[in-house]
């Protein structure tokens, strides 16, 4: 990725949402301790969850949500055009997220399920990440994204420093926290191949990692397939289902 060159004196930022719960947008507002510092350094010019004014003179655009409808496609292309730097926030924008579960179902069925008898009025396309349609400069993965990682990216932009996501897996954060490995409790967790940066929040509270932050840079997916089937008695279809929850649109696939 290109290094985040410092933009204008007080960079203008915007926050947009595509098909999603907009929880990542809200996570920005939950940055209570540093939110005022951020507002001192950046000017928010367009943020539906937080303000009524709208401006299209934008340095950095943050977008959450998957591209899941024809209008999403138009919007993400417009965001790209209007924003010098485009950042995908959260699992939906980075990998398609749980929206992609519909891609494995019959289209007419899920449209009827969601929109009832008006289903024909709401066109849809297979859910995909923003990067499937436009160039994305930075990704802040996770469901929701880690708001502190958002603040970190903001710092990097201000300092003109390259922003890098952690390259290690969730196991590292679990070990640093002193957690008992969920495999030792008899659970199967995607921590060994999932990108760290969440502070291993799910395993810390006893829930298995579902891979919402996507895979590490060079995941050994052959090992995942072999180990989970040979050592933990899983069926390969079940392994695929585990990875499908958040990872459907990642480049690396289970062999």
């Amino acid at each position: 990725m290109a290094s985040a060159a410092p933009v204008s004196a007080k960079p203008k930022i915007a926050v947009f949402s595509l098909t999603s719960c907009e929880g990542c947008s809200l996570a920005i507002l939950e940055l209570e301790d540093v939110l005022l510092d951020i507002l001192g350094k950046f000017e928010i010019v367009n943020f539906r969850e937080a303000m009524t004014e709208r401006s299209w003179d934008i340095d950095i655009g943050f977008v959450d949500g998957a591209v899941s409808t024809p209008s999403d496609v138009e919007e993400v292309k417009m965001f790209r055009e209007k924003c010098r730097v485009l950042v995908a926030m959260g699992a939906c924008a980075c990998t398609g997220g749980i929206n992609t579960l519909k891609n494995y179902q019959n289209e007419e069925d899920y449209r009827k399920y969601v929109y009832g008898d008006k289903w024909k009025v709401f066109p849809t396309i297979p859910a995909q990440p923003c990067s499937a349609f436009v160039k994305v400069d930075y990704e802040l993965p996770g469901c929701p994204m880690n708001k502190f990682e958002f603040a970190e990216l903001a710092k990097c932009v201000l300092m003109g420093k390259p922003f890098r996501l952690p390259s290690e897996p969730v196991c590292v954060e679990c070990k640093k926290k002193g957690n008992l490995c969920l495999y030792e409790k008899g659970l199967v967790c995607l921590g060994p191949v999932t990108r760290a940066g969440c502070g291993a929040i799910c395993p810390t509270y006893g829930a298995k990692c579902e891979g919402c932050r996507g895979l590490v840079d060079k995941p050994n997916l052959q090992a995942a397939a072999d180990n989970l089937t040979n050592l933990y008695g899983m069926k390969i279809e079940d392994v695929l289902a585990e990875f499908r929850l958040f990872g459907a649109y990642q480049k690396e696939r289970i062999p």
């Binding site: 710092k155 390259s167 052959q222 090992a223």
Partner: protein
Amino acid sequence: MERVVTAKDLAALADDMLRAGRTVAGPVRRKERYFYEAVSRGADLAFDFNYCVYSPRSFFFPPGETLLTYSIGTNELNVAPEAPRTSPVIMGVHPCDCNAIGLLDAVFGSGVPDDHYLARRKDSVVVAVDCHGPCDPTAFCRDMGGNEAQEGFDVMLTPLNGGKGQAAERYLAAAATERGRELLAYNKVGKEPARADRDAAEKFREAKAANFSRRLPYAVEKLPAILDRSYNSLLWQVTAKRCYSCGSCNLVCPTCYCFTVKDVPDLSCASGKRVREWDGCQLQDFATVAGGHNFRPESSSRLRHRIFRKGKWIKEQQGRMGCVGCGRCDRACTAKISVVEIYTQLAEEA
């Protein structure tokens, strides 16, 4: 100096240390496992435990710590070093972990001495408790010599009763250092040992020697030579097929001491801190240097590196094995890659 102490005496001693303002840590039971934790009362400490999931390493070398803070003025850079202030009393450390502390002492104390580690270690007291047999099937401490504490402790507790499923209640406490003598002299803990107590301790040691068996098919002294012949073994690639490079084996290891250093600016960008965090040689970017070159891009080369460190290179540098045989890496590996199995297979090939 020797005293006979009960589990209650040890709990009371821990309470005395807490009242004196010390940080006291030791094995604490959390559901089905034990963990080293700082306690607020001595009664929470367990002296009769199988193993702690993690070693007490993090009390001296924490997973993350601030090395210094800085602020940038108009024409100046102000740097303030951060000095650790807690030097804990750790009660209930098995011989393998004592030896591991001894290795960390040697590593962090030699070359450029590591102030942060040494500050935590300076006034710390380590109370060891001997184990009567292997704590878990993964342990191979007998092979590595880890089951006999050579260093890294101030007091050794030898159980005088218990064993075979019965919890020990009485211990012969023997000071190994001046700090250990001071601890045992504190409030004159326990009683003067009687002849029968020394006999019971001797009996424990005899029984202990019989309880540990070897898992390696050869004496560990041969391991460096076996590794010498195994650098190009196919085993590295074959084993790496199962390896996630997740670093769990490193991060649970009581003798791993690698770390990475990062600068963390505040949002003001005018001040910040320099931190260090645990690192591990199995992780993808461990050997990536400025400019982006990675000296060990293949997981097979990283796997081999770890095995060579533990079985040969640290021995050459420090005069002692880099592995104490605690078995934590085997337990932590979700791919079930076993160091003992690797050592065994290499000997068959070599």
